[in-house]
């Protein structure tokens, strides 16, 4: 009886520790052997080929689908033999429990990738790309090859060729904090500045592209004129145009996946309320913005649209602390739509972002005094924490495959970008260099993009 009481008291003193609940599919990654890029009659030296191999390897390690078998000299020889005589070497791969063998080869400046299916010995050439010898450009081509292979093997395009928008905050020469929008590849490479506001810029987000087109525009908030104002700009020149002539502070814009309206926060009423601005990327704002949600003595923030553009998730502290709510967009004649709170277990939530497939919302919430990334799943109606550790983490953004998330850490004086896939739940830092990197936005894809 004493022992029973001791057990109860022991568990009674333990506060609820945060549980990282992995997806049931976490361990169901496809085992793959990816050989190093080797070349014949090629102008590229071994060192350059090793760099490209590292890029390809990174893409497969972080695609959330495959589990790479470790490289070894023995397996490299085995892969070379498989390339020449595929059916004679299948048993060895079966014993190694590998399902696919991927062998890239350079011939002159052409990179071909052949994939061998261990189960039946079939092989196919999936990718044939021309490399330039210029590393920045060749990295992008390798990323495209990785996505093509992913599509061919798994019926779903990878995210290796996507890009990330973010802000980089640095002190300028006068000691003032400046923040501009930057863009990089999804792995943090090829980072370059996009805006030249010479002001304080925050919260960039891509504007979804038209069908069949590539992303070319983005939204952001600038303090160029003093009060924060929302701008839309071309990625080519980064020169923004004001979204609205509304007075006061305008913050936290989000564009509908339908590309027909922008939700944002404005305090024109004297309170930070939720507004909708009809908008097209081609023609800009249409008519006046409409106030769509407010609450007495409450703060509203961070709207995000569902994929159909018919609902909004947003933050409000109308119940006393910031929580995530979902509401239908008002239709003509509709009255008294009540937003529904979804973050009940996660206390103090913020920065919601709706997944492109509509099944989940990622957000930030406090767990044991640390800001962590959480996911609300509409199919299971459950919330779960997907990050851990002492660093604060915020501002999640979904990849177009709805399986990866990017976020920034947010400790005092330090902020870095991390990507994480929902199967492995292993964060991978992608940002490099000085400055605080924050407010990431993951490039969306058009519906018909391949």
């Amino acid at each position: 009886m004493r022992y029973l009481l001791f057990c109860f008291l022991y568990f009674a003193t333990m506060a609820n520790s945060s549980l990282i609940v992995p997806l049931s599919t976490q361990v169901k990654l496809v085992p793959v052997y990816l050989a190093q890029i080797t070349g014949q009659n090629t102008e590229f030296n071994e060192e350059y080929l090793d760099k490209l191999s590292a890029v390809l390897r990174y893409d497969f390690e972080n695609n959330g689908t495959t589990q790479l078998s470790p490289l070894s000299k023995e397996r490299e020889l085995f892969a070379a033999a498989t390339y020449l005589h595929p059916r004679e070497n299948l048993e060895g791969w079966r014993q190694a429990k590998v399902l696919f063998v991927i062998i890239p080869k350079m011939q002159a400046n052409h990179l071909t990738v052949r994939v061998f299916t261990v189960s039946d010995g079939s092989s196919r050439e999936i990718s044939d790309i021309t490399l330039s010898g210029e590393l920045q450009e060749d990295r992008r081509r390798i990323h495209h090859a990785a996505d093509s292979i992913h599509l061919a093997l798994f019926g779903k395009e990878g995210v290796a060729s996507t890009k990330i928008l973010f802000t980089r905050r640095l002190k300028d020469r006068s000691g003032q904090m400046q923040s501009e929008v930057w863009q990089s590849d999804y792995d943090g490479a090829n980072a370059h500045q996009v805006t030249q506001e010479e002001a304080y810029v925050i919260t960039p987000s891509y504007i979804p592209p038209a069908q069949g087109k590539a992303v070319s525009q983005f939204l952001y908030v600038t303090y160029r004129w003093g009060q924060p104002k929302i701008m839309y700009a071309s990625l080519k020149n980064g020169q923004g145009v004001r979204l609205s002539s509304l007075r006061g502070n305008q913050l936290l814009p989000a564009i509908s996946p339908k590309r027909d309206q922008v939700a944002f926060i404005s305090d024109i009423t004297g309170n930070p309320d939720l507004f909708l601005q009809p908008f097209t990327p081609e023609n800009g704002p249409i008519g006046k913005p409409q106030q769509i949600f407010s609450s007495p003595r409450a703060v509203q923030g961070s709207p995000t649209f569902n994929p159909a553009g018919t609902k909004l998730a947003f933050v409000s502290n109308k119940a006393g602390r910031p929580q995530i709510y979902v509401m239908d967009l008002p239709k003509p004649g509709s009255r008294r739509i009540k937003p529904m709170v979804i973050s009940t277990r996660a206390r103090n939530g913020s920065a919601p972002t709706w997944s492109p497939d509509g099944t989940k919302i990622a957000f930030t919430a406090i767990s044991e005094q640390v800001r962590q990334i959480w996911i609300y799943d509409f199919t299971t109606k459950e919330e779960r924490q997907i990050t851990e550790g002492k660093n604060h983490k915020e501002n999640p953004s979904w990849a177009p495959d709805s399986s990866h998330i990017i976020y920034n850490t947010s400790d005092i004086g330090s902020a870095e970008l991390y990507i994480i896939d929902l199967k492995r739940l292993q964060p991978c830092k992608i940002s490099l260099g000085e400055g605080e990197k924050r407010f990431p936005s993951w490039e969306p894809r058009s519906k018909n993009s391949l």
Binding site: A12, W225, G226, D267, G301, N317, S334, P339, R347
Partner: protein, 225 residues
Amino acid sequence: MKYAIFLSIALSLSSCCRTRGDIWEDTKTAGRYFGKGFTVLTGGSDSYEAYDRVDFYPQGEEYGYVAFEEEESQAMLGMQSVEPPRETPGDPGCRLPSVEAFIDPSTDPELANSFQSIPFAFDNSQITQDVAIARVRAAASYMKSHPKVYLFVEGHCDQRGFEAYNLALGSRRANMVRNMLVAEGVSKDHVFTISYGKERPILLDNSEQAHQTNRRAEFKVYKPS
């Protein structure tokens, strides 16, 4: 012994699930929901959304947006709404300079005592502390005796909150100060707001003093020559 076991079970079931802070927060939330529920039962509502776009509030139309119906919004807000200023410093066509021309009052002996920072409680935008009320009134007094002066109210937050949410909270803090200044008799067209969220902390460490210092509204003053 039976009672001890029962008490242990009860305690374990409660404390296993939540910390003490969580229980206190939930108690406060339950109280707010009770109040809101009573309001709804008596015919009110705690939040609302826009009606058809043809039903707009004239003031909203004047300031460039489609708003809720004024009568209902005032009843629900329970407070008099403060109109926005007619102009925004720095905007194209505005005769007022941008915020860079507004000075930190602590650098001017004439202004320093009248425009001290307004403190706020954590995750709160209410001006309830005596020192906060006194400081807003001091600012209002100066503005009323110097009607040509213009003022920016900056809303700031401490480093513990969310980056995105704090941008909105900073806006609310700045507007609460503005509302009080206007209620005290300051011209609504002479007071503007900026939200900086937690982007411009004064102190960067993790101490309670730093957090308290960073949770503030600050003034920036423009005296036309």
